[in-house]
């Protein structure tokens, strides 16, 4: 056997050994990639949907509205300790992101876990504009009740923790949407209850973020007026046409 042939065989053998060593790792990597196809929006969410931090953040006991522990047909306030900004638009973003990310239990969730708040604006006339990702439409259980509870949880959480937003417009991916998930009309503006009407004010708190049930939560009907006799209710999410 010539020296050149021996060298070639040795090199090939070395390559085979290296291949055998790296093959399991490659297989695992391929499996991981095939299991988690990452859309552009998912990649965006990973970057965006983290709690927002601003220089004026102060930890407060924020009152959040998720589904009731005892009934999936109504909302119930829960207190969550989160940092909230002094800037109204940033504060609203922080609240809505917490509403998505921090339900006390999965079954109390009102908004889909993979939904993203893309933007929040406040106009000078007190109109808030919340722009959600498509997952708010695709992930919300279809039905008048569930869609109404989703909107109510948003407006009641905003109303309980901040002033200056009187009504809310919901956009989906920057666009007007006909419905939330096939039933609830999103063409109008949803009234946001004022702080005075909210169950309790947000109070400063020094501790780290944690979730706990509100001390004495009076079960809130959807929209504080949604699942009640048919009477106009200022704190409900009945829409107002712009």
């Amino acid at each position: 056997m010539s020296r050149g042939l021996k060298t070639t065989i040795l090199v090939l053998a070395a390559l085979v050994v290296v291949g055998l060593i790296t093959l399991p790792g490659l297989r695992r990597a391929i499996q991981r990639i095939s299991k988690t196809p990452q859309t552009e929006q998912q990649a965006r969410r990973e970057v965006m949907q983290v709690p927002i931090s601003t220089p004026t953040d102060v930890k407060v006991q924020a009152q959040m509205f998720w589904l009731s522990k005892s009934s999936s047909s109504s909302l119930e306030p829960a207190t969550v300790e989160i940092p909230l900004s002094a800037d109204p638009a940033e504060r609203a973003k922080q609240l809505l992101i917490a509403l998505i990310l921090m339900p006390p239990a999965p079954e109390r969730r009102t908004l889909p876990a993979d939904a993203t708040l893309l933007a929040f604006y406040i106009q000078p006339d007190g109109t808030g504009i919340a722009d959600f990702s498509d997952e708010v439409q695709t992930g919300t259980p279809s039905g008048i009740l569930s869609e109404q509870l989703a909107v109510d949880s948003i407006v009641q959480t905003l109303g309980a923790n901040m002033s200056g937003i009187e009504r809310l417009k919901i956009l989906i991916h920057g666009q007007d949407a006909e419905t939330l998930a096939g039933h609830l009309d999103l063409s109008g503006l949803f009234p946001v209850p004022s702080l005075a009407a909210a169950p309790a004010p947000a109070a400063p708190a020094p501790a780290a973020a944690k979730t706990s049930a509100a001390p004495a939560p009076a079960p809130a009907t959807p929209g504080a007026g949604q699942n009640k006799p048919a009477e106009p209710a200022p704190a409900s999410s009945e829409p107002v046409k712009p």
Partner: protein, 177 residues
């Protein structure tokens, strides 16, 4: 499921001597406006939209009508005209819609324990463009493990709607008085 409910409701209403038009006959998916066109092209019509939800206490039925807030703000913003805006066609029928919803909800509460005794207000998209008394009926829920439980609700739902509509007809034909 919804279509089978609708067919039973149709039979019950026709038993009251009423003419019933279904806005869909099979698995087609007409738009909100397509359905509204069918309803708004009739005279002396009422509109009922049926839904089976994926949430809510199983075995209950909720009845919705359009909230009055829609009318108040729209009236303030709209220019004076005798024409009815398609997008706000429900405005002129809000009171009658609410009365129809009350009558149906009472019947449902009598048949399905846990259902509210009074109707609810919700901005249901389909109702907004109906220029006549219009309500949405939502049955809970498709999450029932046994579909037969939902099927068993259908005859009572149909009967409840027929009785309520018969009572409403007297109000409607007397001009809402």
């Amino acid at each position: 499921m919804v279509l089978s409910f609708a067919r039973l409701v149709r039979i019950s209403l026709e038993g009251q001597g009423l003419r019933v038009i279904l806005t869909r006959q099979a698995n087609e998916d007409p738009s909100f406006d397509d359905r509204s066109k069918v309803a708004n092209g009739q005279r002396g019509v009422i509109f009922i939209t049926l839904h089976v939800s994926s949430t809510g206490q199983p075995g209950t039925v909720r009845v919705y009508s359009e909230p009055a807030a829609l009318a108040q703000s729209a009236t303030a913003a709209a220019p004076r005209t005798s024409l009815v805006s398609w997008d706000r066609a429900q405005i002129g029928s809000l009171d009658l819609s609410r009365r129809l919803a009350e009558l149906i909800q009472i019947q449902m509460a009598q048949r399905f324990r846990g259902s509210p005794e009074t109707p609810l207000l919700a901005p249901v998209r389909q109702l907004r463009t109906i220029a006549a008394p219009a309500v949405a009926i939502e049955v809970s829920s498709v999450s029932l493990p046994d579909r037969r439980l939902l099927d068993q609700m259908a005859p009572a739902i149909a009967d409840a709607v027929a009785r309520a509509v018969a009572a409403f007809r007297l109000i409607y034909e007397s001009g809402g008085k």
